[in-house]
Symmetry: C3
Subunit: 364 residues, 3 copies
């Protein structure tokens, strides 16, 4: 237990944990204060995500490379998954899709771009393992194609109805999960030597003992689920009172909240000239959401949701995912980075964020 | 003649030649058995395509590099051309276009992907001449632009009528053939040293004597034409009875049937660690169909078809061609291959095949 | 003054300066002869653009690298800017947008392609600084995304009205100018050593003395503005009498006229095996128009134009800009060039030019 307390003392982000009980009280006592719920739940999710991420890594560190890699690859975006599941159960499919699309775009553009920029402000030129970046970019490209096809076909074929889209989405979900599993087989097993430098992980931070890690994993997941419920309930009305469009909230706000913990690690890696770590977190997280979280949500919607969810995204979101993947793929091709590469990525992200912010709320 | 018999004995694929007479008998005796005609004609086309391909290479081997390269480049996809011409004369333009689009996608994704996968299962990392792959990818990209423009403009401009599309298609056809001719001048003549290792061709198989080769070329082309007629006639009704959509048949089935012989060569090259051969066949074949077969069909439609054919493809097909070209271009950029690269390409192909299979038959 | 006369004697292009007074007389004496005005104004703009370009470089050469680079980067496309401003003041927004889109496409495809082709016909393989080409391609890609987003969203969202598009366009304009400024900071200041060989500029031509250069800059700008007025007034009617569509005129003719002087420099650089110079002029000019001229026009339209101009382009133009950027990005990836690379680029340009030429005039 003193590990946990030491961690909390050491990491100022975790002081925000105090918000967790406050959220629940506020939700009980002032059920109509949506904006307050929203702000408090955001502040509560950030430290919970950080704990979740550390607990996952601690379990991974104790279970050896293969199982550990597997664990990191499936639970690495647990926060995003839990938030999306909560929205799924509430039938808020637009929010689920916006948050999936937003997480992909935010990780490939903002997290990667800010890492390059922060690193580049300190080091003249930085290098990273481009084999690893290329694998992630390739997987992302595959996922982009899978997300693009239903919308492209639906646009071309008005006759193609909902049944077609649902069948196709289930098929695509299965393919994406299979590709993700094969990608892990490739990078963790058959060709692991190619990915060497990216595998150091979070060295420096001592892993927790197994019991504490597993307990934290279970306990915090439940807490994230509970806070997510408040978050999902309040997000739309709070957004309106802030003057933000629903598209902007789903795409930008949820993605930034869900990924805050990973961003902290990615940025600190970049400042320590360990760009492999940053690129791995940013692209790995985007890949995981595209090839694991999104398909799992589609499949789970048959069990948990009020109706099946498909993979047909809003055309504007598809364009953004496609452009984000193209940008990341062009940019990581060389394996070198300077501050200006970060600026380029952030600019693309700013273009998207601004477009979504200005979009009239009636549309999408 | 004993060359031909030796070849047939040596190559179990050629035993399927027995289907050729059976097709014609079945067509005469049971004119309504469409499914039977379809299956038999598929089985008959595969070995004929293999003979055609060997005969073309034998003539090419005897006539020296320049003429031989030219021959390979024009007759290498003779099977596809003859099938498409038969469909063209029957006025089945949708089938013609679907088979052209399908051949490009199948060669760049399935043939290339399966080669990488089969090679990668045997060898840890394989290398190939990336200058050659880049030239093909560049030509393919040009063709993709040419196929994309009429659809993109037609979508943007409802006022742009059929006359515009037809004039544009003829102009594009001429440009593509010119680009193809200049590409040959470049790779066979002015900069041939850059393409060195890709030019070994089918070493190992002894070329036939000239007379036999020319005779086979002429005779088998006629046979392919006759079998194609049965194939084109039966394909739509057979597809329906198999529960396949017309789009799936044109895109996937016709492309796999027409390219079976080349696939056999490409796969065997990959297993022998001669990946230059596989990449050359796969991308070369796709390039040839995009820059030679398709434009020739447009121009011939003015002479042979009931009405002129244009280059305006179904938007879904254009998206698939574009994505296939992008994927091939990203993947072949490095000149190295592992099994997972093959998986990625095959997955993209599976996404397309599944989409077309599920597409309701009324659309497209 | 004798510098100016020497320059005119030395450069046969400048003999066309004789057309300048003829334009004005013709415009006064025969106010209805639109075709004549058009031809004469084209012939007059070309030498004026050449003078402007030499004057800018002379000032740049005298003011040191940083200020000089800044000057070149802002005034390098002064001719295009003045023509577009004239059209803007006349409220001809379609012409403004077409000329901006056309200049980007013409510079990335025609100017770059013809440079590669002309250089490649003389030298077997040419090399150039690919870091510099990549920076330009990256900036162009960013601009393409900015130009693409308003059209993509407007297509997806019918509810998104004019207010949204205008607000978004102003925001995008500010972002693009910021990215352009940061790009200069990167290439002229923080990482200038990466761009070394591209910075030789127009060595060989002696710069003019400061006074003459500044005087020429001021005087010729005014002349270009005056001739542009005749040009903009006459271009549509002249186009009709030549059988050219308005889209073709804006995209192809205006872009070729405005860029004639830079093309002369780029082509001569390629023939002297100084491909860095050619690539720098072609991509640099495209980047400048996309990230500086276009946004400046949007912002100035609030002051000068009869109504605000947005960045929402005709979808066909967006497709062409996107494909041109993709092509340039794929092609310049390797840092090597042969004649065939030039052919590929020119072919893409020909496809676009032909499409626009054949497009029925009612549309667009």
């Amino acid at each position: 237990m003193h590990h946990l307390i030491k961690e909390i003392r050491h990491n100022p982000l975790l002081w925000l944990l105090a918000c967790v009980p406050v959220v629940f009280s506020a939700h009980k006592l002032k059920p109509e204060a949506h904006t307050l719920h929203f702000v408090l739940s955001v502040l509560a999710i950030v430290p919970l995500a950080a704990l979740l991420s550390h607990a996952t890594e601690s379990v991974a560190a104790k279970t050896g490379d293969a199982v550990g890699g597997l664990l990191n690859a499936t639970l690495g975006n647990l926060t995003e998954l839990v938030i999306a599941l909560t929205a799924l159960r509430a039938g808020q499919y637009m929010l689920v899709k916006a948050s999936v699309a937003g997480a992909i775009v935010t990780n490939t553009l903002f997290m990667l771009g800010a890492s390059f920029l922060l690193g580049g402000l300190k080091y003249h030129v930085q290098e990273y393992n481009r084999v690893s970046a290329r694998l992630q970019a390739g997987l992302l490209f595959l996922a982009t194609i899978a997300l693009l096809i239903p919308s492209a076909i639906a646009k071309a074929e008005l006759a193609a109805g909902a049944t077609f889209t649902h069948k196709l989405s289930v098929g695509l979900a299965v393919l994406l999960i299979a590709a993700y599993a094969l990608g892990m087989l490739f990078s963790l097993k058959t060709h692991r030597e190619l990915f060497a430098s990216a595998e150091h992980g979070e060295a420096g931070e001592a892993p927790w003992p197994m019991g504490l890690a597993l307990g934290t994993l279970a306990g915090v997941t439940i807490m994230v689920a509970l806070v997510s419920e408040v978050f999902v309930e309040s997000v739309q009305e709070a957004a309106q009172s802030f003057g933000m469009t629903p598209a902007f909230v789903g795409f930008i706000v949820v993605a930034l909240v869900g990924g805050a913990a990973e961003m902290a690690s990615a940025f600190s890696g970049a400042r320590k000239n360990r760009l492999d770590l940053s690129v791995g977190i940013a692209l790995g997280s985007a890949t995981q959401i595209a090839l694991f979280v999104a398909p799992v949500l589609v499949l789970l919607s048959y069990v948990l949701g009020p109706a099946p969810m498909d993979l047909q995204f809003w055309p504007g979101a598809v364009v953004m995912i496609f452009l984000a993947t193209m940008t990341a793929s062009l940019v990581t091709n060389s394996g070198r980075s300077t501050w200006f590469v970060g600026v380029l990525l952030m600019m693309v992200y700013l273009i998207f964020a601004m477009t979504l912010y200005l979009l009239p709320p009636r549309s999408q």
